[in-house]
Amino acid sequence: MMNKLIFGRYIPGDSVIHRMDPRAKLLLSFYFIGIIFIANNWATYVLLFAFTLLAIKLSGVKWSFFINGVKPLIWLILFTVILQVLFSASGGTVYFKWGIITISQLGLVNGVYIFCRFVLIIFMSTLLTLTTPPLELSDAIEYILMPLKVVHFPVYEVALMLSIALRFVPTLMDETEKIMNAQRARGVDFGEGNIFQQMRAIVPLLIPLFVSSFNRAEDLATAMEARGYQGGEGRSKYRILKWQARDTWATLAFAVLTVALVGLRLYV
C-alpha cells in the first residue's frame, strides 16, 4: 500500500509538464497554494479552476487519478466544510439558528469556497507528484535548500539521505512482505481481530524489520566508504537539473495568473 502511495504515483510521460524542471514544478506548486488565498469570489475561483484544469490537460494524465487523489481526504474536507458552514460568522439570509449553530447564506458560500480550495490544492499537488519522479523531487529539494548552506545546514548529506531512503523503499517493502509471510506461516493473523490484536500482530513484523534495516544500513555505510565517500564536500554531480525556456514560460503564466486574480478580487 505504501508502495502505491509513494511509487505508484509517478506516471511516466513526455508532456510539457513532465519535462519541466522539477525545481520550477515544486516552487510553482507551493506558490499556487499561496495565491489560492487571494481568491475571494466566484470569478477568482473559476479562474483558478480553469488554470488548474488546463495544467492537468497539458500533462495528459487521466482525470480519474485526480479524483482518486481527493477521495481519501473527502471526510476531512467535508468535516472542515461543515464546521465552516455551522460556525462561521453569519451574514446574509439566515436559514437556521439553534444555539451557537447558524446556517447562513454567507456560511454556505464560505463552505463552498473552502471546498474549492481543498480540491485545488489536492489537484495541483497531485499533478506535481504524478508528473515528477521522486528522485527528481529530491534533486529539486537539494537545490532549493542550497541557501541553507550558509548556516552550515548539511544540504548534500540530507539530499543523499533522501535519495537513499527513496531507493530503499521498494527493498524494504519486499522485505516486509517476506517477513509477513514467514510470520503467517507461524500462525500470525494480520488484519484480523480488533485494533489491539492487529497492533499486537505488527510487533513480530517490526522487530525483524528493524534488525535487518540496521544490518543493511551498516553494510551500505561500509560499501559507501569503500567507494570513497567522505561526505558531501568536494563531490561532483552526475545528475544535474536544467532550467529551460518552458520553465520561464510557466513562471510567467503564474505571474499573469496572480495579476488576473488580484484584478478580479478588486473589481468583481
Partner: protein
Amino acid sequence: MSQIINVEHLNYRYPQQDTDALTLTDVSFSVAAGEWVAIVGHNGSGKSTLAKNLNGLLAPVSGQITIDGQVLSEDTVWDIRRKIGMVFQNPDNQFVGATVADDVAFSLENQGIPRETMLKRVDEALAQVDMSAFKTREPARLSGGQKQRVALAGMIAARPKILILDEATSMLDPEGRAEVLATIRQMKADSDLTVLSITHDIDEAASANRVLVVNDGQLVEEGTPAEIFEHGPALIKMGLDMPYPERLKAALKRQGVTVPTTYLTEKGMADWLWQLISNK
C-alpha cells in the same frame, strides 16, 4: 613482477570483542600485479575481516599493509581506497544510487571527477557489463546478478588497480554467478587488474592463479587451485564446496573404482572416464 599487495605480520582484533583472542593472527602474504588470488576458509575464519583491513575499513592492531607501493596509514587511506574496488556479498546493501547510472557514477562523484568525463565513463562501463539497456532502471527492478554486474560497472568506471570480491557471487543463482564470473574474467582481460576473491564457490576458486586457505584467523595453506583441490573431502573443512569432479571421484572410489589422485577438471574427468570405459 612487482608486488601490488604486501601484507606483513598483520594482527587484528575487533574492538567490541570481549576476549583477547585475535581475529587475524600474524597474516603475511603478497600478491603480484595482475594475479588472481582466491581466499577460501570456513565461515567465521576471518576472510571478510582480512579484506576490510586491506583498504582501511578496519585498522589493524599491528602489522603493515602496502598497496601499490603506498603504506596504508591514515594519510594514505583515501588514495588506497581509490586503488581498490570492493564488491560485497549482498547485492542490495551496496547499491547506493537510485538508478543504475547513478550507482555506477557514485565512486566518480566521490572523487570529484568532472561531469563530462563521468557521463562517458558510466556509459562505457555499462556497455562493458552489458547493462546499457538498464541505465535508468531502479535497483528494485533488477535481478541479483544484474545488481552485482552494476556494482562491477561501478568498479570499471572508477578504474581501480585491485578488485576485491567478498563472496560477491554467493547470493546469486548459478546463472547469475556465471554471468558475474564471466564479467570479471572480461575485466581482467581488458586491463591489468589484480583480483582477490573470497569465495566458497569452487568454480570461482578454480579461476584463480593461486588459492590462500584461511583457518581461524591464520593463513594455513597456499597453492595453485589444482594443488588445493587434491585435498578432496578435506576441502569442505577449508570452506569450499567440493568440486563436481572430486565428488564424482569420491563416489567412484566408494564403488571400488581406482581413481587418479591428481585433480582433474570437469573436462579432464570426462576424458578419463572415456578412457576407463573404452579400456573395459
